[in-house]
């Protein structure tokens, strides 16, 4: 039996405040940005709609299949694909394939870079007071 967590999105609770983006950019890049971050909020401002998009919530994790170097593996404990930096050659195929556009290219290391759920304690969740981004934990039985 092992413990597993998952980042759950409740779009109806999202008010589009961008705090999650700021928390993410500060945690990962030590600056504030609403663009170069590991999650995204799609908005229709005319209808005041907002929809957070984060890793682990797309269909089929296409980044896993596209990596010819086997650098991306599914992390069962975090329920997201993870990049093994040692194996990544920086071909950018996963970046092209990510349906949410939230895998970035690290220009310094010349490798793909993505959400790792802050190793299980995501910065974005801590600032989402409306509760649109939540961590749910459960136990996987039989493993």
């Amino acid at each position: 039996m092992s413990e597993s967590i998952k980042l759950e999105i409740l779009p109806e609770a999202c008010t589009g405040c961008n705090a999650c983006l700021y928390a993410c950019s500060l945690e990962k890049f030590q600056v504030f940005s609403n663009r170069n971050v590991f999650l995204k909020i799609e908005k229709d401002e005319r209808e005041s709609l907002s929809y957070p998009l984060s890793c682990g919530n797309c269909e089929g994790n296409p980044c896993l299949d596209v990596c010819a170097f086997n650098a991306i593996k599914f992390d069962d404990s975090l329920n997201i694909p993870n990049i093994d930096s040692a194996l990544c050659v920086g071909c950018r195929k996963c970046i092209q394939e990510c349906p949410f556009g939230i895998i970035h290219f690290d220009e310094g290391k010349l490798k793909a870079n993505k959400c790792d759920l802050c190793k299980g304690d995501p910065a974005c969740v801590k600032v989402c007071i409306p509760g649109a981004i939540k961590i749910v934990s459960y136990e996987k039985i039989g493993e």
Partner: protein, 636 residues
């Protein structure tokens, strides 16, 4: 470990007459003295205009100042302040807005945008990081806010562009035209949109991709996250989260202090139908949405699903809108008020002033001062929703009787004459916001001295009523005892107003929402001093930041002094001082001239301003490091 402070983002200047664009640095000394946004805007307005500058001439400037903490995790920090000489009063005007536009301008690399001059033909500004373009807007002129915003996003092929624009009201120089940001966030008071229109500037589109650095990111983050959670637990903030500002309609009505029928009544039987709770129950309210970095999310999005106004949709409505366009006009039909709100938002007009002039006209008709012939045959009577909607369009396009109302209630009453000035609920030329100041002495004083005219968005001293534990604690701190948490007494009102004035100036300058600091009271001046210090690396103490607040307020006062405003301008609308409240537990109350005079004397004394003229003394200006202002004023 950082050793150097973070350089302030520069000011972007655009001269629409010469088509020149340039940048100017803000010194760290200036940042510490004026904090940002509203403070820096006031400095620019002082330098760029003079005693002769007319608000609607090219010599006026329009300054967009982003909050120093905008684009960060600081709680509710997405506010932007627009500053200029305003057409409603002829003097100092600041008008602020929420939304995301200000943060985007900071991501583009600028703290402030200054528009000078006037273009010969309609243009819009496209700020794409360091690329700044003045683009033709002939095809956008005449379009409403929704159409303009849609067209610019389409034209720039980017749905994520942030658009600030004016509607037809701004183009037609309606004295209470607004600037609308990303459809629904409004900088609306005082005619800021008319100033933009006078410059032939239809819109400012912004996209920014540069990250924002803070000096001590770890302490800044920890402090911000802690404050966000504190704010979420605050009593005032919780109420706002549930129903927005519209949630107080029922409570205010129950105490007979809901400004209705142009402040002739304080209670309306069906008022609940324009209240926040009903909007939710009857499913007009579809969702709430946030300004940048705000977890309170008091802003609403409403839709009319059936009936004659089916298909109307917009942001809001706020308490002020529901009173100004609803009960103020004797209207409680929810869908009609939502349609009127939508119209103001797409035509680009302040809902408070638009509702105010229409209420005034309704009272003129009631009292026989205006006839049907003079109002294009319209039946301008209390409760007539069709006429409300029709008049809003006529005002925005300055058609027929609408052209008179488009001048605001002061000028309109000068034109119509008779006793109509008595129910023109304005002072300094600005229509009063929908607060029953006859019942709240602190509010009465704050409204009378407000540099832009009588409203709540300069100094809102909600704490004086002591409705929440946080409010009571604050009054004890300011006045020494909780017993002063009593809005019916004049004692200590000057102290309460002064504290809120300084706090509001800091709040605006940092880009924080006043709902977090002077409604919820969860974010204090001490907290703001810490956030400012951690963000900029320019260490500032609580006392120093309050001193900066005083400096900003005093400079704003000097702008009005230079324009000829003296003590006689610091009054309340005639009705507030002479006609008592006529029902409910507070029946008979008003704010008399004697009471106001007494509070003004104490207020000027506290400020170090001359009691007779209300002018800041040279000594006071020097003590606030405003020697240059003192010298320039003395030359007048």
């Amino acid at each position: 470990m950082h050793t150097k402070s973070v350089s302030p983002l520069p000011v972007l200047y655009v001269d629409l007459s010469s088509k020149k664009v340039w940048k100017k640095e803000i010194t760290k000394e200036m940042m510490k003295k004026f904090l940002g946004s509203r403070g820096i805007n006031a400095c620019i307005l002082w330098d760029e205009t003079n005693a002769e500058t007319h608000p609607l001439r090219p010599e006026n400037v329009l300054v967009f100042g982003t909050g120093t903490l905008s684009g960060t995790l600081a709680p509710s920090s997405g506010r932007t302040t627009l500053t200029c000489l305003g057409p409603a009063t002829g003097g100092y005007l600041k008008s602020s807005t929420g939304g995301h536009w200000g943060s985007e301008l900071r991501f583009a690399g600028y703290s402030t945008l200054v528009i000078k001059g006037r273009s010969t033909k309609p243009v819009y500004l496209w700020i794409n990081d360091d690329k700044v373009m003045i683009k033709d807007a002939s095809h956008l002129w005449g379009k409403d806010v929704r159409q303009t915003t849609d067209s610019i996003k389409k034209e720039l092929k980017d749905d994520h562009v942030n658009v600030a624009c004016i509607g037809p009201a701004g183009e037609n120089l309606v004295i209470f035209a607004s600037v609308m940001f990303n459809y629904y966030n409004a900088a609306a008071r005082g005619g800021i949109g008319a100033v933009m229109g006078s410059k032939n500037l239809k819109a400012v589109a912004v996209k920014g991709t540069s990250p924002i650095s803070v000096f001590d990111s770890v302490r800044f983050k920890n402090y911000s996250v802690e404050l966000r959670h504190k704010l979420a637990k605050d009593t005032g903030s919780k109420n706002l989260s549930m129903y927005g500002t519209a949630g107080i309609i029922d409570t205010v009505n129950a105490t007979h202090s809901l400004p209705s029928y142009n402040f002739q009544k304080g209670y309306v039987e069906d008022a609940y139908k324009v209240g926040g709770q009903y909007l939710k129950e009857a499913k007009f309210l579809k969702r709430s949405f946030s300004c940048d970095s705000c977890s309170t999310a008091c802003h609403r999005y409403t839709v009319v699903d059936s009936g004659p106004w089916q298909g109307s949709f917009s942001g809001g409505p706020e308490y002020e809108t529901l009173t100004a366009l609803g009960v103020g006009c004797g209207i409680t039909d929810t869908a009609t008020v939502l349609r009127a709100n939508e119209l103001c938002n797409i035509l680009g007009m302040d809902t408070i002033s638009a509702g105010s002039v229409i209420q005034w006209a309704m009272e003129c008709v009631e009292k026989g001062i205006l006839t049907k012939q003079e109002t294009d045959g319209a039946c301008i009577e209390w409760g007539n929703g069709e006429v409300l909607v029709e008049l809003l369009e006529k005002i925005a396009f300055c058609k027929g009787f609408g052209a008179i109302l488009a001048k605001g209630v002061k000028q309109a009453s000068d034109i119509v004459g008779g006793d109509s000035w008595k129910w023109a609920v304005q002072s300094k030329g600005l229509e009063q916001s929908r607060v029953e100041v006859r019942l709240k002495k602190g509010y009465a004083l704050a409204f009378a001295v407000n540099m832009r005219g009588p409203d709540h968005l300069h100094t809102e001293c909600i704490a004086e009523s002591g409705r929440t534990p946080e409010a009571k604690a604050l009054i004890k701190r300011i006045c020494g005892s909780e017993k002063y948490a009593n809005p019916y007494i004049t004692e200590k009102r000057a102290e309460i107003v002064r504290w809120h004035e300084d706090c509001y100036a800091i709040t605006d300058s940092l880009g924080i929402c006043a709902f977090a600091t002077t409604l919820a009271y969860a974010v204090s001046p001490y907290d703001m001093a810490n956030l400012f210090s951690f963000a900029t690396g320019l260490h500032i103490s609580e006392n120093e930041i309050m001193e900066a607040g005083k400096r900003i307020v005093t400079l704003e006062k000097c702008i009005n002094v230079r324009k000829g405003f003296d003590r006689s301008a610091d009054v309340l609308p005639w009705r507030m001082m002479n006609e008592p409240v006529n029902s409910g537990p507070n029946k008979g109350m008003r704010c008399s001239k004697e009471e106001l005079d007494q509070m003004l004397n104490e207020y000027y004394l506290l400020h170090g301003w001359d009691k007779e003229t209300s002018f800041p003394t040279e000594e006071t200006l020097n003590s606030l490091d405003l020697e240059r202002i003192a010298k320039e004023l003395s030359k007048q």
